[in-house]
Each structure stands twice: as C-alpha cells, then as structure tokens.
Amino acid sequence: MAVCVAVIAKENYPLYIRSTPTENELKFHYMVHTSLDVVDEKISAMGKALVDQRELYLGLLYPTEDYKVYGYVTNSKVKFVMVVDSSNTALRDNEIRSMFRKLHNSYTDVMCNPFYNPGDRIQSRFVCLGRAFDNMVTSMMIPVC
C-alpha cells in the first residue's frame, strides 16, 4: 500500500519518516519535502475561509510517474504525507482517508503520553516511545514487492 509515510511538524521539520527499505530512501525524503510546498499552498487557499470547516484530508497533492502523494493536515498544523505506488490503482480515496485517520489516531495516542515532548522525533528504536505508532505504520506499509 503506502510506500512512504511521513509526519511533519508545524514548523516543517520531520517528526517521523519511514519508507520501505527496498527503494532509495533519499528519493522519498525529497518527494516529501517538495510536497510540503503543495500542502502549504492548499492550507493557505482554504485558510482564508473558516478554519473550523477546513477539511483535514487534503487529497492528492501531486502525481508523478511512479508515485502519488497524498496529504493530510491536523488542526495543530501537523502534516501527514503519504506516498503510494501509482501502479496500485486499487487504492481508492476512502482507503487513503481511512489510513490517514488511523495515522491521526495513533499520533494522538503518542501525544497523550506525558513523556513525549511535542516536537520530539517519534522514535521507535530501543524500548521507547512510538512503538505502537511504528507498528501501525508498518501495518500500512505492507510489503512492496
């Protein structure tokens, strides 16, 4: 399904990036970085309207030959960016939405942990924070052949 998942903080620095290891990770990092501009554009376009009514799910940010990039913004300006394989045409919009929703829920769970300082990286190495978050992301990034 997803090939790369990234969580970006309000100040546009990454909190969490994970991509399937087979590919060149740098490419995905670059894609996520460039998608931030698109995200900001979408936010500002909608932001003139009431903030409350702004939809969290941003939809397809931009397509490339091989990949499609989807975006999602929370109310606290934390951005989720997901890169999926273009060949995976079976993926519908609803599924992407539900994936983002799950991401958002696990992110909220991470936030609820009082030992997590907002702005820290969501690490899941060692025995520490973000274990559940990581597991959830893994479940979304089911093996790409």
Binding site: N105, F115, L129
Partner: protein, 608 residues
C-alpha cells in the same frame, strides 16, 4: 464415559433460541469445574470472598484467581483468553457467575478446536475443553489419550513461541529446556501446580515446591521467571535484597513490604504491593475512582530515575485507553512495571495479562475501606473547612492541613508513608486552594464599614442605656452634664474595645452616636428625672468615680458584644469567600469545556 460424553456432545447441542445449550456431559463437567473454582474461592484467601460478598450475597461466584489459572491451563494464548473473558460477560459484571463461567468454558472449547472466539461458535456442537490437569483432579473425563494428544500438540506450539521470544531472554538455555519438559512432566506434578491457585498469597510455600511447573506458553512471556524459580534458594534471597534496596531508594519513605513473592511471577501484583500502589495513588489523587493526569503521573514516575524513553514505553503499555490519564488499575500496572524494570526485568513486548486493567479490577476490587475512607475524608473535609475558616486569624495554613492529615492517619497501614506523601501533597493541597488562601488574607482590612457601624450603634445604644441605668442606680443625683461625658466615654470605650482592624470605623461612631444616644438618653432620663437638658461638659470630679464602676460591669458586656461582632464579621467574610469561590468554579468549568472542545477537534471521530 468418554465416548458417551463425546457422543452426547456431538448429538446434543445445536443452535437454538436459548443462549447456551449444554449437553449432559458438558453440564456435568462444567458444573464440576465451577464448583472447584468456587470452592477454591471459598477456601482461599483474599479476592474471592470479599469479591463474592461485594457482588451479590446469594449467588455463587468463582474467584478470578482459580478461574484464571484454569483458563491458562487450557493452553490458549493470553489474547484469546482475554477475548473469552470479555465475551462471556465476566468483564462486564466483574465476576464469574455460573453463566459467565459456562460460556467461557464453551468458548475455550471453541478456541481449542480452532474456531474463532465468537458467541456464534458456542452455539454449535463442540468437544469438551481441554485443560492440563492431573488425573487426580477428576479432569480424567477428558481421557488420557486426549490429554496426551493435547500436550503433544502443544509442544511445537511452545517451541515456536519460545523462538519468537528468544531475543528477550537474557538467561538462555534453561528456559528452552524447562518449558518443553514441563508439559511432559505435567501429569505427575500438576497437583502442586494446581495448588498454586492462591497465587498471590501463599508464596513462601510454593517456592519450595516444583518451580518448573508453570503453564508454559504463558510463562514464555516472562523469561526470567523460570531461572528465578529454579534457583529458589540463595540467588533468590539476593535479588530480594537488591530489590528492596532499590525500592527503598525509589520512594521518599516507605515500609518494606514482603517482596519475596515477587520472584515467582514478576507480572503479578501481590496484595501488599497493591495496597502500596493504592496508597501512592491516593497521595496523588484522593479519589480512587478518578484519574491521575499525565503531568502529575509524569512527575511522580520521573522520581524513579528511569530513563525517559523507558518511562514513555511503560506509559504506552499501561495506559490502555490512551487518554493521557491513569485510572487506579492503570496506575498500578505502570507502577508495577517500573518496579520490575528497576529490578532488572526487561520490559515486556505487550502488557502482560495480569497487568491488564480489567484483570486488575476483577482481581482486586476496590477494597471497601478505600471507599469508606474516601467518604469519611470527604465528609470530614467540609466540616473541617468551617472551623478552619473561622479560626483563620489564629491558625496558619499548616494547621489547617493538619486536619486532613489527622483524618488519614486513622486508616493507614502505611502510616509513615501516608504522612510523607501527605506532606508531599500538602503543597498541592494548598496550591489547590489558592482562592481560599488569597481569600483569607485580604478580608480583614477590606471589610466594608457599612454594616458594622449600624451594629455598633445598636450595640452602643444598648451599652449606653445599660450604663445609664447603672449610673442611676449608683448615684442619686444624675445630671445631664454628667451623662454627656459618660455617653461620650461609653462610645469611645466601646470603640476602643473593638478590634484594631476596625480603624476605619473607629473614627465614625464616636461622633454620631453621641447625638443619637442623646435622645434615648433623654427618654431614659426623662422617665427618671424630669430635668431639663443641660449642656456643657461635666466637672472632672464627678466623672472620676463613675468610670471605674462602669468599666467593671461594662467590660463583661463588651466582651460578649465584641465576640458577637467578631462572629458577624466572620459571617460576612465567609459569605464573600463563598461568592468568590463560586465564581472561580464557574471559570474553571468554562475552561474545562473549552479544553474538551479543543480535544474533540484534535481527535477526529473514527468510523471504521
């Protein structure tokens, strides 16, 4: 008998309108199992009888301890057992009544046959559930071949699970050998296993018995238990000492509980530990049924000097509902994990079943004395607040905090710990009442002068009248001139006797009452002596003998009247305080509503 039971089971139950159809064999077997568990509860200690007594006086319930052991002996993985517990309704009602127990047994049978754990599964015909029990226990109805077959089937399951947990094992080979040995050795040594039913309590006895006999797949999650158990003698005491020193260093002040039971099953909370955790909980949050917020818990757990990543992982494990706050059972689980970690146990991958909140709630229902304590505490607290406010001028804040300390001292086993934790909590208590604190200080100088002068005038009126009557009694000749200075003296004396904080008022009364009292004086004197009003101050000679007499008699009255005055002031102060606090309460309510709204926005509703 086996064949008959199997046939009966095969031919007997089908899906039908009644929720649970049991065949004859099943019914017999289940009722025996239930009787065993309930009997064990009756004879056993702790959780059984109070739980049953709390729940319903008439019904027979099976205690969670033997039931949990029985379920574990069914060799099902812990998640399945939890699903079963949930489904059968024991979690809902909080105890294992006959219905719940039977449903659970049916579900176990379903799970063992490979069916998914659903209510629908139990409607179809099922074999009897298999438990790893000894022949003596009468589970023999499952038959030897069935049992051995069951154990043989379980062994590859054991080894695969062991492999998956291998990376958690610090101690290595002993474990891989002993669990594989244990099911084979199960029949002869399971009586001691089954005697482990009173698990939380008779630990000293059990340690001497065969330690290798644990329900193995469950123990696979606790890698250090086996080596700990097998080396029960010398090394067992060493970790005990090490552990107690660590625990001592962990908290501010505590009484050493019996931690020896710890070694057998590190993820099971004993009664003493549970009490200690509950006390600590109460030190942070007096209401046992409400939450500890994340920041409070963070501060508390940071004192344990574990690293932040570990603490955050422990939090992730223990906060099951991920709400950022800890209930009592979540708190106990987290505390227990911290203590385990400090003693060197590696943290588990997932929350062990004995630390799950529902298990903890079922196993350790909130003891009654907790509730009583809270009730008495809440009752005494408002009662204490009134004298506290009334005596605010004399008592300092510390004295007021002594009142809650004294109420808590009544209960504790852990009196010293309570005191220390209450001392810790004292600043919190005080900080929680900034309103009262701030309210206590300003009122004295800020008293509105209006109500008091009228009181004072009324008082002085009566005082003056009394004085005049006395003066009349004492001397035959009373002149207007004499009365006048006495009048002026009376109010001035009364004004002087009033507390100093009434400086504002002090200047006012003397001027006005003189004129006002002149009239009643006129009336009084007119009744007695029809002399005309004279002006001019009296001579000093006539004045002198009188004041001494007046002082003696009036002092008593003044004392009473000042007391009355003080009480009225206190009343006014309390009324103002009350209104201020009400306002603050409203503001806090509004803040809370605003925060809840924000939280709802941040956390979208999922419809999956």
């Amino acid at each position: 008998m086996e064949a008959a039971a199997a046939a009966a089971a095969g031919g007997g139950c089908g899906s039908g309108p009644p929720p649970l159809l049991l065949s004859e064999g099943e019914q017999q077997c289940y009722s025996e199992l239930f009787a065993r568990c309930a009997g064990a509860a009756g004879g056993g200690p702790g959780p059984g009888p109070p739980e049953a007594a709390r729940v319903a006086p008439g019904t027979v319930t099976a205690a969670a301890g033997p039931v949990a052991d029985l379920f574990r002996a069914s060799q099902l993985p812990a998640e399945t057992l939890h699903q079963i517990t949930e489904l059968c309704g024991a979690k809902r009602v909080g105890y294992f009544g006959p219905t719940q127990f039977y449903i659970a047994l049916k579900l176990i049978a379903a799970a063992q046959s490979g069916l998914p754990v659903r209510i629908e599964s139990i409607k179809c015909e099922l074999p009897l559930p298999r438990f790893m029990m000894s022949k003596n226990d009468g589970e023999i109805r499952f038959g030897n071949p069935a049992e051995l077959h069951g154990t043989k089937v379980q062994i590859p399951y054991l080894t695969t699970e062991k492999n998956s947990f291998k990376r958690m094992d610090d101690e290595d080979k002993q474990e891989t050998q002993s669990p594989t040995m244990s099911p084979l050795a199960s029949p002869p040594s399971s009586p001691p296993h089954y005697q482990r039913v009173p698990l939380s309590h008779g630990y000293s006895k059990l340690r001497s018995s065969a330690e290798q006999m644990h329900p193995a797949p469950y123990e696979a999650r606790q890698p250090l238990v086996q080596p700990e158990g097998s080396s029960s003698g010398g090394p067992g005491t060493k970790p005990l000492r090490h552990q107690t020193s660590l625990i001592r260093s962990f908290s501010v002040e505590r009484e050493l509980q019996d931690n020896s039971s710890y070694l057998d099953e590190p993820w099971r909370i004993t009664e003493e530990q549970r009490e200690y955790y509950v006390n600590q909980f109460r030190s942070l949050q007096p209401d046992p049924s409400s939450f500890i917020s994340g920041s409070v818990a963070k501060n508390f757990f940071t004192k344990s000097k574990l690293s932040i990543p570990e603490l955050s992982y422990i939090w992730e494990l223990s906060d099951a509902d991920c709400d950022g706050a800890l209930t009592l059972s979540e708190f106990c689980a987290a505390f227990h994990l911290i203590v385990a970690r400090k003693n060197g146990y590696p943290l588990p991958e997932g929350l062990p079943p004995t630390l799950q909140p529902e298990y903890l709630q079922a196993a350790f229902p909130k003891p009654k004395w907790d509730c009583q304590l809270f009730d008495s505490y809440s009752e005494s607290l408002p009662a204490n607040q009134q004298p506290r406010d009334l005596n605010r001028m004399e008592t300092s804040v510390k004295d007021t905090a002594d009142l809650p300390v004294s109420t808590q001292d009544v209960t504790g086993d852990d009196k010293q710990a309570l005191k220390s934790t209450v001392n810790e909590a004292l600043p919190k208590d005080v900080s929680e009442d900034p309103a009262t604190k701030s309210g206590l200080l300003p009122p004295p100088p800020a008293l509105p002068p209006r109500p008091c002068p009228s009181q004072i005038w009324a008082i002085m009126n009566s005082v003056a009248v009394n004085i005049c009557i006395q003066v009349v009694e004492w001397s035959e000749q009373v002149s207007e001139a004499e009365l006048l200075p006495q009048l002026s003296r009376a109010p001035s004396q009364a004004a002087e006797s009033s507390p100093s904080k009434k400086d504002v008022l002090y200047s006012q009364p003397p001027s006005k009452p003189i004129r006002r009292k002149f009239r009643p004086e006129n009336q009084a004197t007119e009744n007695q002596e029809p002399s005309t009003v004279a002006s001019g101050p009296a001579s000093a000679a006539t004045v002198k003998p009188h004041p001494t007499v007046q002082k003696q008699s009036s002092k008593q009255k003044k004392a009473i009247q000042t007391a009355i005055r003080k009480n009225k002031e206190a009343n006014a102060v309390l009324a103002r305080l009350n209104s201020e606090l009400q306002q603050q309460l409203k503001e806090v309510h509004q803040e809370r509503i605003a925060l809840e709204n924000q939280l709802e926005q941040l956390r979208p509703v999922t419809v999956l």
